[in-house]
Amino acid sequence: MGGVSMAMYVRLKGELPPIFLPAGPPTPVGEALAMASQMWRKDPTKARLLFQGRPLEDLSKPLAEYGVGPDDLLELEVVE
Amino acid sequence: MTEVRSDLRLELMAGEEAEAIARAVQELNPEAKIEEYPGLLIIRVPSNTRMVIDRVRVEEELGRPYNLRDIQTIMAAFYGYWKETSPDRWVLEWMER
């Protein structure tokens, strides 16, 4: 009891389970993308993050600017 | 509501008692079907009939006295309701409506 877990998760598109992403709303998209890519063993230059189906295109913006909250799910999509 | 009523079913650990019981059931219900898997013998009868295990018939098939209570030693599963579990006869059927 006690303590509130706020955790973000990232799913590889087409794959499950989602995995814990050590990021938060202030984290820049690019940093989150780098972390997610490393965890899923993908090339970050050939991948992008999505939130509720919408691509997060500006790598310098914080996730919060796209409406991402502290316990939300992101998707990592490979784009060839 | 389900349309198909499943068979009455008795699943027994394989061996001579299971085989004797299966034959005794078949004598009284010619529609009985037997299935075998490793270690397991399954007796099925159609849902609108009954499965009757008669002690005297089992003893005849087995060639020795048999206490019907001992079915519990080899019974792995059943589908239906035990209407009777007397010393002379065990009867499995679906509920009357």
Partner: protein
């Protein structure tokens, strides 16, 4: 010639005809203490049942018979295990099956102990003497099962190390949290009759036949007769437990005031059919993946035991009395027939570096069988195994999102029939007292929202790691869970598999 009169047989017949009289005096009004002291109200059922005489035990068991029959079962089991030990059977069992047994025994041993605990409560506080008697036999049975499962582990530790830590594994291993959550939920029912629903009705009628009848055929086919005999012996007791469940359901649904009871009974039926599907669906990996020599598929066993036996058998009689099919039945059927065993096995392989039991990719022969039994297998998981075959390690290097109810990593997507994992996955969440809870399914979310206080306080293993209460480092996490170096991984890469192949005259 006059037939010799068997007085004992005649007495037994009379007793059978008058069975009710043998249990009627087990209930009396206490005079030395109050009824509430004997049986506190919070331990008794809250169900407003008026007529308990309707409960009838179909087996009409006498204690003398109980002892005799159970002693016979014990003799058969202990002879089987002694024989197996004497002739070294364990060494000749397919290591694929042995890997499965490592996972199986700790989970099931504890489940039986919790069922024993549950029936201690029902037997003690039962409103009906006949029910108390049937429940009393059951608590003895469950203790026997728990002890025999531990005894089987004692037999196995002569040949392998992994089970020597079984209690710690049960407590801390990631996949065991699924079983812990279920069994502890079962041992702490809101009402003694919830216990009957979750054990005697949902579990024993719905799922134990899959586990204790279908799985033993696979065990026997792969050389493990100890497992086959033990579990069939366990299941022979279950037949009495099932009869208790049937008799209780009939007694409850034939009450004049059944409309007052139905909402509670329906909720229990819905909740427990779902919870058991989630957990006991794991049986699928024994039939579909661990076993090299296959007997029947999970889909086939599910059809025989769950659909024909449990749903059709039960509902045909109880639907006219007001019990509706389980709320999430469509999801259950869709998952069991298409995804469940495949996604659980894949998950186990994805985390094989954190396991104490081995897993392995399906062989070409396995795949041919799987494709035949599950026509959409390639679409569900075949693509993943293809990647593994082409050199992808297939492991997930991150903490999985775990369902806050069932404690399973979230690997299901039942809302999307065309693209099981490639579609519009939607994450189910609920906010409660300032915390976000995640669920794998509508079923788990429904249960949580019905009884949030029961489930809100636990943390998943991922949450414990995030909070620093369990280690994040892989080696330390393995140690925390009770694993030793060398345990788990891919069986096909280990010497025991190569030795086995050589012993069978097979090539790698």
């Amino acid at each position: 010639m006059a037939k010799k009169v068997d007085f004992r047989e005649a007495t037994l017949r009379q007793l059978y005809e008058n069975y009710g009289l043998t249990t009627a005096d087990l209930e009396w009004e206490p005079t030395y203490v109050s009824k509430d002291e004997v049986s506190p109200p919070e331990r008794r059922t809250r169900l407003p049942v008026k007529d308990w005489s309707k409960f009838e035990d179909p087996f009409k068991l006498f204690f003398e018979d109980y002892v005799r029959v159970q002693a016979e079962k014990e003799t058969v089991f202990h002879d089987a295990i002694r024989l197996a030990e004497r002739f070294g059977e364990a060494r000749r069992i397919n290591p694929r099956w042995v890997a499965g047994m490592k996972l199986y025994y700790p989970a099931v041993a504890q489940s039986e102990a919790e069922a024993h605990r549950g029936h201690l409560g029902l037997s003690r506080h039962s409103p009906s003497p006949a029910l108390a008697m049937a429940s009393f036999y059951q608590l003895l049975d469950e203790l026997r099962h728990a002890q025999n499962d531990v005894h089987a582990m004692r037999y196995w530790v002569r040949y392998l190390d992994e089970l020597k830590n079984w209690a710690q594994l049960y407590q801390n291993f990631w996949a065991m949290q699924v079983f812990r959550s279920l069994f502890e939920d079962m041992a702490t029912p809101s009402d003694p009759f919830e216990l009957v629903f979750h054990t005697n009705v949902a579990l024993e009628m719905g799922y134990t036949n899959l586990l204790f009848v279908a799985a033993p055929t696979a065990g026997a086919a792969n050389g493990d007769r100890v497992f086959a005999q033990l579990q069939m012996s366990t299941q022979s007791d279950e037949t009495r437990h099932i009869a208790l469940g049937q008799a209780t359901l009939r007694a409850l649904l034939e009450q004049e005031n059944r409309d007052e009871l139905l909402p509670t009974l329906q909720y229990w039926f819905d909740k427990w059919t779902w919870r058991h599907h989630r957990v006991f669906g794991v049986t699928g990996i024994f039939l579909d993946y661990f076993a090299e020599n296959k007997t029947l598929s999970y889909k086939e066993a599910f059809k025989k035991y769950f659909i024909e036996g449990y749903i059709q058998g039960l509902l045909e009689d109880f639907e006219p009395l007001g019990l509706k099919p389980p709320r999430f039945l469509d999801d259950i059927i869709k998952e069991a027939e298409n995804y469940q065993s495949h996604q659980v096995w894949k998950l186990a392989f994805q985390y094989n570096y954190l396991n104490f039991f081995e897993t392995f990719p399906p062989t070409e022969k396995d795949k041919a069988w799987l494709r035949e039994k599950y026509p959409n297998w390639d679409q569900v998981v075949g693509w993943y195994w293809e990647q593994v075959e082409h050199g992808d390690p297939g492991i997930v290097q991150g903490l999985p999102l775990i369902c806050n109810l069932c404690q399973f990593p979230i690997v299901y997507n039942p809302n999307d029939p065309d693209h099981p994992t490639n579609g519009s996955f939607h994450l189910r969440t609920t906010r409660y007292n300032g915390r976000t809870y995640y669920f794998c399914s509508d079923g788990c979310q429904y249960i949580f929202e019905h009884e949030p206080e029961k489930y809100a306080h636990a943390k998943t293993l991922t949450e414990l790691v995030i909070e620093g209460r369990a280690p994040a480092d892989v080696e330390k996490l393995r140690e925390y869970m009770g694993l030793e170096p060398g345990w788990g991984g891919n069986l096909f890469e280990k010497p025991i598999w190569k030795e086995w192949l050589a012993s069978q005259g097979r090539e790698g």
